[in-house]
């Protein structure tokens, strides 16, 4: 967590220093006027310049030294401490230039004029070197973790790509857990993330376009898609929407999600997010577009349809019958998570005749001592549960265990014992809570929110209120689109072909088409007739 934080905050000082020290007065914004600013041939002047820009940036390191053969040629290294691979800086740059170059050079004389060329071609043992004359590039490079080498007498900086910072290693996905399937999840480094994608899809058609967002943070954003499968219109729409973002900082993909959503006033997510590379790869293969953001392990994919709330990557790895069964279970859970408390309120306070007589008597007995109306009771318990859930997430891990036991005891046992809450209410709340975890997390956030207005409606108009709420919700869902695709597809509008991957998950040999509205550019994903069968007997 600490590393993560430091890295995100690192570029911040730019915005601050700009105000305090404009080197020549017109350097007031990070990306505009400096484009005309070029390096000078005088290394001292350049260094002064940079020192002015990086004033009070204690983590920027300047290292001046002399070239091995030509002692009068001065070199300077500028890099950010902690963002570069320090061993590379000392071994491959400083050692190579200050010591070893003397042994390696042939008879050609190194002059001030050809020093840059020699340094680049013969001296540096760095795999990726860029040249730039622009001051802005130098600043960017330093802040991104590259090492900048200035050579006296040249107005060109060599930007060595030897970024290397402390970063989290690739670990198991924490939010989407599977039993069968790849474990790895994205990390905070964009390059690592794209490399994970590339490792899954070894195809030049996997395009990863990068751009920078955030005037202050300069966050790298990658837009990934598979050319030939994706709908070109979708890519340009995504790029267009990204292009109109003008914000000081992008610290997480959530910033982008809210800025490019189709329906900003909806509680339902129309862009999916995941930290699983396999999920992103699967989405790309279906014709979707992924947006990866540097500094967060969470990638966005779009378009996102409602049906995806009940789909998990594991469905596609586990055998199809089991996966279909689990899907049905998830649909039921989704329904329960959304409506169970309101159904309970509606039945207990309006439609008692729906309960079988013995159950009614038993609930009546439980409720006899409860001082609140059932709506208030259920509402309090739901809120209490949300508090416990929030506590569970925020609490320091060692404390969490203890607190959850206390919460379970107090809310579960003591409240019932004291006659403050009916046992049935506890069961309802607990079941609702469990059910809400079975569906896709972002989807369940919407359900969590909507549960309360539905409870209110149910307390107000009984089942009719509940149904009214559901109708409004469905009408709203029907009006949503995610990047042009109707949100409720393939159910409404019905797309028969896509129902294979909805409440059931057909075997892979049957799902030979990509989702119709997303992959229509290249509908077929496998050859027809792949259903395995025993070899046909030959007729004699």
């Amino acid at each position: 967590m600490g590393i993560y934080f430091r890295k995100r905050k690192r570029p911040r000082p730019i915005g601050v220093s700009e105000k305090t020290s404009p080197p020549d007065g017109n350097h007031n914004s990070a990306d505009n006027t400096s484009e005309s600013l070029l390096l000078s041939t005088d290394i001292e002047e350049n260094l002064q310049y940079l020192q002015a820009i990086f004033e009070n940036c204690s983590d920027v390191v300047y290292r001046e030294f002399l070239l091995a053969q030509q002692e009068q040629i001065k070199l300077a290294l500028i890099y950010t401490d902690g963002l570069t691979d320090k061993s590379q800086v000392s071994e491959q740059i400083m050692r190579a230039l200050a010591l070893e170059m003397s042994m390696a050079t042939d008879s050609t004389e190194i002059t001030r004029a050809n020093a840059l060329h020699y340094v680049k071609m013969r001296g540096l043992c760095i795999h990726q070197i860029q040249e730039s004359q622009r001051l802005e590039d130098v600043v960017d490079a330093v802040l991104s973790g590259d090492t900048v080498l200035l050579v006296d007498g040249h107005a060109t900086a060599l930007i060595n790509g030897n970024r290397g910072w402390e970063s989290r290693s690739i670990e198991d996905s924490k939010t989407e857990i599977v039993v069968r399937g790849p474990r790895e999840s994205f990390v905070e480094t964009l390059r690592t993330n794209t490399s994970m994608l590339r490792r899954k899809i070894k195809n030049p058609n996997l395009k990863i376009e990068t751009l920078q967002l955030g005037q202050v943070t300069k966050t790298d954003i990658a837009v990934a898609y598979i050319k030939g499968i994706v709908n070109e219109g979708l890519v340009s729409e995504v790029k267009k929407r990204l292009g109109r973002i003008n914000i000081d900082g992008v610290l997480e993909s959530g910033y982008i999600e809210e800025l490019i959503k189709d329906n900003p006033m909806s509680v339902f997510p129309t862009i999916s997010h995941t930290d699983r590379p396999d999920r992103v790869a699967a989405n790309l293969l279906e014709g979707r577009v992924a947006i990866l953001v540097d500094g967060t392990p969470v990638a966005l994919t779009a378009p996102y349809l409602f049906i995806e709330a009940i789909q998990t990557p594991e469905d596609y790895y586990e055998q199809s019958f089991f996966a279909s069964g689990v899907r049905v279970l998830r649909i039921a859970s989704l329904f329960l998570a959304l409506t169970l408390p309101s159904l309970y309120v509606a039945i207990i306070s309006f439609h008692q005749e729906m309960l079988p007589t013995p159950l009614l008597l038993s609930i009546a007995a439980q409720r006899e001592a409860v001082p609140f109306p059932v709506f208030v009771e259920a509402f309090i318990m739901e809120v209490a549960f949300e508090i416990i859930r929030e506590t569970g997430i925020r609490l320091p891990r060692p404390v969490g265990q203890a607190v959850s036991i206390v919460a379970a005891l107090i809310i579960g046992e003591a409240a019932v014992q004291a006659g403050l809450v009916a046992g049935a209410t506890i069961i309802v709340v607990a079941l609702t809570a469990m059910a809400s975890f079975t569906v896709y997390y972002s989807g369940s956030i919407a359900l969590r929110l909507l549960r309360f207005p539905l409870m209110f409606l149910a307390a107000f108009l009984g089942l009719f209120g509940l149904i009214s709420g559901l109708i409004i919700m469905v009408v709203h869902l029907a009006s949503l689109r995610s990047f042009g695709v109707p949100y409720l597809a393939p159910v409404a509008p019905i797309i028969t072909e896509d129902l294979k991957d909805s409440a059931v998950r057909a075997p892979w040999w049957a799902m030979d088409k990509r989702p119709h509205l997303i992959g229509q550019n290249n509908p077929r994903r496998e050859a027809p007739g792949l259903k395995p069968h025993p070899p046909r007997e030959r007729k004699r």
């Binding site: 006033m265 207990i348 306070s349 309006f350 008692q352 005749e353 007589t357 013995p358 009614l360 008597l361 038993s362 609930i363 009546a364 007995a365 439980q366 409720r367 006899e368 001592a369 409860v370 109306p373 059932v374 019932v416 014992q417 006659g419 046992g423 307390a459 107000f460 009984g462």
Partner: protein, 409 residues
């Protein structure tokens, strides 16, 4: 947008105070009526008795089920006179602190006197009000309905549920409110209702289980030391909406046969070879078809009954593998079934002169023109009609043994 949200919140805020005034009924503000009884009272009034569940006596609430729920009286039985059922209910609410809730009423019992005067005036509230259900079991009792309600069940939590379960299991001739309405509406049949009575059944199992059974109701209204369990003891026969008489349990079986409602039951016949010993057969399936005939003057009916049964008890020792013996048992069975049907038929035709079997319906289906003429005096026509009964009983199984095992020495 902000304006819209404010408007919405305002509407919600305005609506909030109204909440709770409407159809909302909190569970602990309801008096759950499990059974209702209607008796006639002086001055053409009716006496409404209700059995209300007392949830606090069911345990729960304080955590953990109280096992000896029967110790405490878990129902409250209370009566009230009124001009009509609804009127009496209204008066009741002056005594009962909660709103009477009819959605879970299991049984409706008519007292004998009211039934003899006609049940129409008591039944309408129950079939019209959306609160009560058409699936209420309707019964009639000898004596007062209030006494039947004032009882306990040893097995079920309340006597109402006990009676309901019996009716659901098909003891006697179970009648739902909707069946009663259909029977009352039809000219081709007359209603029957099962008769429920309290019969002494051993010692009370706890202090709350003592009842006033009619036999014990002598000088003082005091609880006796006999437990009385509600029991189905026969059938009440109605002419239109008036009770005219009773059928006992055996005749009730005949009634079920003739109404084609025989679903399960048992028939005991004397052994064909050994006198004084009996054979009992369990009825697996019973089927009756009634065909009316009319030649312009006389009406007669051909009734064909079929039965599949399983021999489950044999006191005698005859060899069941012998086809001749088997045939004679089946023949005896035929005779026995016909006898039961005849006994019910005779009661209906001769004693009460009402068609309680739905023969009129059958006639209506076949002779729709003639029906228009006969329907208003159908009971007379029925009383004079000949009925031919043909029974074909088959024993399909003999349980787990063929002959008595004890016979083989």
């Amino acid at each position: 947008m902000i304006k819209k949200i404010i408007c919405f919140l305002l509407i919600c805020a305005l609506v909030l105070p109204l909440e709770g005034c409407w159809s909302r009924r909190e569970l602990n503000e309801l008096a759950i009526v499990l059974a209702a009884g209607v008796d006639s009272a002086p001055n053409n009034k009716i006496l409404l008795t209700v059995q209300i569940a007392r949830p606090s006596a069911f345990g729960g609430g304080g955590g953990g089920q109280k096992m000896a729920a029967a110790q405490e009286n878990n129902v409250w039985v209370i009566s009230q006179t009124g001009e009509s059922v609804f009127d009496a209910q209204r008066y009741l609410e002056a005594k009962v602190s909660r709103e009477l809730y009819w959605g879970h009423t299991v049984i409706l019992v008519f007292g004998e006197q009211l039934a003899r005067n006609g049940i129409r005036k008591a039944i309408n509230y129950f079939s019209r009000s959306p609160n009560t259900r058409e699936t209420i079991w309707v019964l009639v009792t000898r004596g007062k309905a209030a006494d039947v309600l004032n009882s306990h069940s040893q097995l079920e939590t309340t006597s109402a549920q006990s009676i309901g379960n019996m009716a659901r299991a098909g003891v006697g001739v179970p009648v739902m409110l909707k069946d009663l309405s259909i029977m009352l509406a039809s000219k081709g049949t007359n209603p029957v209702l099962p008769r429920i009575e309290l019969t002494p059944s051993g010692k009370p199992q706890g202090p709350g289980m003592q009842e006033n059974i009619p036999e014990a109701r002598g000088s003082q209204q005091q609880a006796t030391l006999t437990h009385a369990e509600p029991t189905t003891t026969g059938t009440g026969v109605f002419k239109d909406d008036r009770l005219v008489g009773w059928l006992d349990m055996s005749e009730t079986r005949g009634l079920l046969w003739l109404k084609d409602k025989m679903e399960k039951g048992e028939i005991t016949i004397p052994s064909p070879r050994e006198s004084g010993k009996n054979i009992s057969i369990n009825i697996i399936r019973g089927n009756t078809s009634v065909e009316p005939f009319y030649d312009g003057q006389n009406v007669w009916f051909d009734v064909r009954m079929q039965m599949d049964g399983a021999l489950l008890e044999q006191q005698s020792t005859e060899d069941l593998t012998d086809p001749r013996i088997f045939a004679s048992i089946e023949k005896e069975l035929n005779r026995r079934i016909e006898e039961k049907a005849r006994s019910a038929l005779e009661k209906a035709q001769l004693t009460y002169e009402v068609d309680i079997f739905g023969f009129g319906e059958a006639f209506h289906r076949k002779y729709k023109k003639e029906w228009a003429v006969l329907k208003d005096r159908w009971n007379e026509v029925f009383a004079g009609a000949d009925v031919n009964i043909a029974v074909q009983a088959r024993i399909r199984r003999t349980g787990l043994t063929t002959n008595r095992i004890s016979k083989e020495r």
